[in-house]
């Protein structure tokens, strides 16, 4: 009887479905220290492996003596390339179509490179063993600058040249030089050149997007356990893509895929760092096979910052042309991409520079051309997408800086310049000059809302007054107004153009409804803090009418979860979220037939209503999903097999294109170089909002990492290839001390092709945040002649900018 009096609104509320700020179900275990991370895994007889790493950035190895190390108490084995060679495992394929040494094969190409793997009874014995391994190095000239590398006679990768020293073709075609990796082009070169050469106004800028690192709090690691009795390998690890890791391990080890079980337990942040396959995984597997015991490998902080998956390191040159009135006519971008010693970028195979060709941004730019040259240097490999879809942060930084540079050239307000060039609402779906089809957007509405919220005109007036006061000697603080409008391209992706190592980038969801009306859903993705267990249950709750609290979400175990390509590039909601909705709809379709049978009407005479099927026109006659679930298992229904389960593999028809409008207000002390963030306003449009509280958390996190990158976080090398920022003393991680209060806001423009209209949000704030912080710093100095200065804008560099502009008198 209760159901009859319960309002529809109450029933919706009980589901905690789409739009509900449901508390994260994961947090109970995380806040109580009950999480289960890879380093929490302890198995009987487990050994510990760790690396002897190269102190040099470029050197030939003339000898490795492991005798003394083997005498260290507790040390069981020391693996070198020679041990891996008979297995064909001394090199491994990278995600970018190159190959990478697992253990140094005759030479080292970056500082910290893995030279030997010491396997010992515990971490401490392994550390002692590492000290005892004697490696003879013969130093070679070091190349840390990609422009010098392209001119140098020094061959970094002897395996990529033929006998005459000429470069062999690479995975992406011909190479121009022995240290060149690929050239990748998009757009129309000739037309772009012509448009720019004939333009009324052209603005140009060189910019370096420095090398940085995702630096998740939990470093990378794994536990490999080879059971010699049943021939099964179990591999626990910090994998953002467990299924892809299983396939890759199978392909390179020859172990059949059904004999490999990969498990991603709780993961303490990934941000792209945990997408790739690392030598530690291969060595742990080999060591477990050799010793017959489980072997654990866990990076320390220095290992993580120095060796696994850096991000960015793009030297970009831009030219942008416009009419005198500010209408953009063309854009040219050249990138020299520093990929380090091996090309281990994590990008879809056909996109060696990721989606850098989204660099026309949110603007209706009729003609554009992009060219990217990848280059080998003596730096660590990687090139992952740090809290962004593939190279999208670089692309958005580029265009948002070019807009500012053009605004200076035109002597125009940068907000106005954006306004007159935005893609208009009625132009969607919009095909950009570099090929992408933007699904939906309403940029003008978002922009006006943002500018109004911060009182943009008022801020500019205040800034003008501040400049006068500064010139009059009344203040030593300048005011910067940072603007940024970004469009992301996420949710990779359609299998027709997106694969990694040949693995199509679909994703999946498998649902089992239990007889009493609760459920478990398993997905091909893996949460690293995004809150999947919370939000995917909400998607499902709205689709199948069972409360989110009654739905368990499970990911990360390849023996139980359906195949999927994992979590990165904001792809979980656009792809696996869509699969979840589609699988839910299959459940609902079967439930409809069961309901019709139970209600003794035709299938077409019942309709879904929140948590039940009702007879059309007679809402008092209904069966709840809970009742239907029980009947599905326990009632013989003619023509319908028992059970209530569904699987969906979802290949999205297109990417999704979240967007947003950000404004940062900053006061900068010109004498100390210290920026003080007075205000940060972030409007995000991620389409349908699943859980506003989680969105807000994602925005706070992404903005904080944006602040880090813009204002100080970098992986810096000296001329000898030494990593100068290998610890958290030198590598900037913002704390509560540096982080301002964020104001969040939103508009909602659903994706037309996604089943629930959601676009993904985890990375938007990072993508939009970096240029916003940077533009604020640069805007403060614009009245004094600044056009562009490179990030990271740490105190010293800001001070230097002020100094170079003559502001120190």
């Amino acid at each position: 009887m209760k159901d009859e009096v319960e309002s529809r609104e109450d029933r919706v509320g009980k589901l905690k479905g789409l739009g509900c700020s449901r508390k994260r179900v994961e947090d109970a275990r995380f806040t109580q220290g009950k999480g289960n991370y890879v380093d929490d895994i302890k198995l009987d007889g487990m050994l510990f492996g760790d690396f002897v790493r190269s102190p040099y950035a470029h050197a030939r190895i003339t000898g490795i003596n492991i005798d003394a190390a083997l005498k260290v108490p507790g040390v069981l084995a020391v693996l070198t390339a020679k041990d891996l060679e008979p297995l064909g495992l001394h090199w491994m394929p990278t995600l970018a179509g190159d190959r990478q040494m697992v253990l140094a094969d005759g030479k080292v190409l970056f500082q910290g490179q893995e030279v030997a793997f010491v396997v010992a009874e515990d971490r401490y014995a392994a550390a002692d063993g590492i000290e005892a391994v004697e490696v003879e190095y013969e130093e070679l000239p070091v190349l840390v600058n990609p422009f010098e590398s392209l001119k140098s006679d020094v061959v970094l990768r002897e395996d990529t040249v033929d006998e005459d020293g000429a470069p062999k073709d690479g995975a992406h075609g011909p190479r121009k030089h022995h240290n060149h990796i690929f050239t990748w082009e998009a757009g129309d070169r000739d037309t772009t050149e012509q448009v720019i050469s004939e333009a009324e106004v052209v603005a140009e800028s060189d910019m370096y997007y420095h090398r940085t690192h995702p630096c998740p709090l939990e470093t990378c690691g794994c536990v490999a356990s080879m059971d010699k009795v049943n021939g099964k390998l179990t591999l626990w690890g910090t994998f953002q893509a467990p299924h892809a890791i299983r396939t890759v391990v199978s392909l390179i080890s020859g172990i059949e895929e059904h004999n490999i079980r990969v498990i991603s337990p709780d993961i303490g942040g990934g941000f792209g760092n945990k997408v790739g396959a690392y030598p530690g995984y291969v060595c742990s597997v080999v060591a477990s096979i050799v010793t017959g015991k489980p072997v654990k490998w866990i990076e320390d902080r220095m290992d993580n910052l120095m060796t696994t998956a850096f991000a960015r390191d793009y030297h970009m040159t831009g030219r942008i042309s416009a009419t005198k009135d500010g209408k953009i006519t063309g854009l040219h971008c050249h990138v020299t991409a520093d990929h380090g010693g091996f090309d281990a970028c994590a990008d879809p195979t056909k996109f060696p520079a990721g989606f850098m060709n989204i660099c026309t941004g949110s603007y209706d730019i009729p003609t554009a051309f992009l060219e990217v040259d990848g280059v080998y240097t003596n730096k660590a490999p990687g090139g992952v997408s740090y809290r962004c879809s593939f190279r999208v942060t670089e692309a958005v930084y580029f265009i948002e800086r070019m807009i500012e540079v053009l605004a200076i050239k035109l002597n125009m307000d940068a907000a106005e310049l954006r306004r007159i060039n935005f893609i208009r609402k009625e132009q969607f779906p919009y095909t950009a000059a570099l090929g992408w089809e933007y699904d939906s957007g309403d940029y003008h509405t978002a922009w006006e809302k943002a500018l109004k919220a911060v009182d943009y005109e008022g801020l500019r007036a205040e800034q003008a007054q501040r400049i006068e006061d500064f010139k009059a000697g009344k203040t030593r603080k300048l005011m910067g107004i940072g603007l940024s409008f970004f469009t992301e391209i996420v949710g990779a992706g359609p299998v027709k153009n997106c694969d990694i190592l040949g693995l199509g980038m679909f994703d999946s969801c498998e649902i089992r409804i239990h007889p009493t009306g609760s459920a478990i859903a398993r997905l091909g993705t893996i949460s690293q803090g995004q809150g999947h267990a919370t939000t995917f249950a909400q998607i499902l709750a709205s689709e199948i009418g069972l409360p989110a609290d009654s739905i368990t979400i499970e990911e990360g175990d390849t023996d139980t979860a359906p195949y999927g390509l994992g979590t990165y590039g904001s792809r979980s909601t656009p792809v696996a979220g869509a699969a979840t909705a589609m699988a839910g709809r299959k459940i609902r379709a079967k439930a409809q037939m069961i309901a019709a049978y139970l209600l003794e009407v035709h299938d077409d005479d019942v309709e879904f209503d929140v948590d039940r099927f009702v007879v059309k026109g007679a809402p008092e006659r209904f069966k709840t999903m809970k009742e239907i679930a029980f009947a599905a298992y326990n009632q013989a229904i003619p023509g319908i097999e028992p059970g209530l389960e569904a699987v969906s593999y979802y290949d999205p028809p297109n990417m999704t294109y979240p967007f947003g409008a950000y404004v940062c207000v900053m006061d900068i002390d010109v004498d100390t170089g210290v920026p003080e963030i007075r205000r940060f306003y972030a409007l995000d449009d991620c389409g349908t909002r699943i859980n506003p509280m989680i969105i807000e958390g994602q925005v706070h996190g992404g903005l904080t990492e944006a602040l880090a990158v813009a204002l100080g976080q970098e992986i810096a090398y000296d001329d000898m290839g030494n990593v100068k920022t290998g610890t958290l003393m030198d590598f900037f991680l913002p704390t509560a001390w540096e982080v301002p209060n964020y104001e969040t806001d939103h508009t909602v423009t659903p994706s037309p092709h996604h089943p629930i209209g959601a676009k993904g949000v985890g990375e938007s704030p990072h993508v939009g945040g970096v240029p916003c912080f940077s533009n604020a710093v640069q805007d403060a100095f614009r009245p004094f002649g600044n056009v562009h200065t490179n990030m990271p804008h740490d105190h010293w560099r800001i001070w230097k900018t002020a100094h170079d502009l003559g502001l120190h008198g």
Binding site: Q111, M306, G721, N722, V723, G726, T727
Partner: protein, 151 residues
């Protein structure tokens, strides 16, 4: 990384010069020096324990002296291997100026390059430590020479 400083030693220049070539003196003065063997007039081999922040390592290395400018100037180059802790190499030019017959001004210009863990700890630590070690060496040196002259 570059280091330079000067120190006044209360000893005649030739005594200072001789001490710079004396392995016993050097061994006493080099912070952390465990062993110093003279192979020839210009070739020395040293074992030194170094501590930079959290990294402590035993460095084995060679030192080559250049005495061509005696007694006004003196150069040395050296390199050391600290295993997992890294590698260091560098050199120093030392000039000796007689301020008066019993006082010598010692000026040094040193250059050093480090790699491996030592370098990764960040230049601010390395620079400070190197400066401290150099200062400590010459402080010790002045003390030993003055002691000998007095004795």
């Amino acid at each position: 990384m570059e280091l330079n400083d000067e120190i006044t030693i209360n000893a005649p220049r030739d005594r200072v010069y001789a001490a710079l070539n004396d392995p016993e003196v050097l061994k006493r003065c080099i912070p952390g020096c465990e062993e110093l063997v003279k192979h020839s007039d210009t070739e020395l081999e040293a074992r030194v324990v170094l501590k930079v922040g959290p990294v402590k390592a035993k460095f084995g290395g060679t030192v080559t002296l250049d005495t061509a400018g005696a007694p006004e100037s003196f150069s040395l180059t050296g390199q050391g291997n600290g295993g997992a802790a890294g590698h260091a190499k560098g050199g120093a030019d030392v000039t000796l100026t007689a301020l008066d017959p019993d006082t010598t001004l010692l000026r040094y210009d040193a250059k050093a390059e480090v790699s491996g863990k030592l370098a990764q700890l960040g230049s601010r630590l390395i620079q400070g430590t190197a400066r401290k070690l150099a200062a400590k060496f010459f402080e010790n040196f002045a003390e030993v020479v003055e002691e000998r002259v007095a004795g």
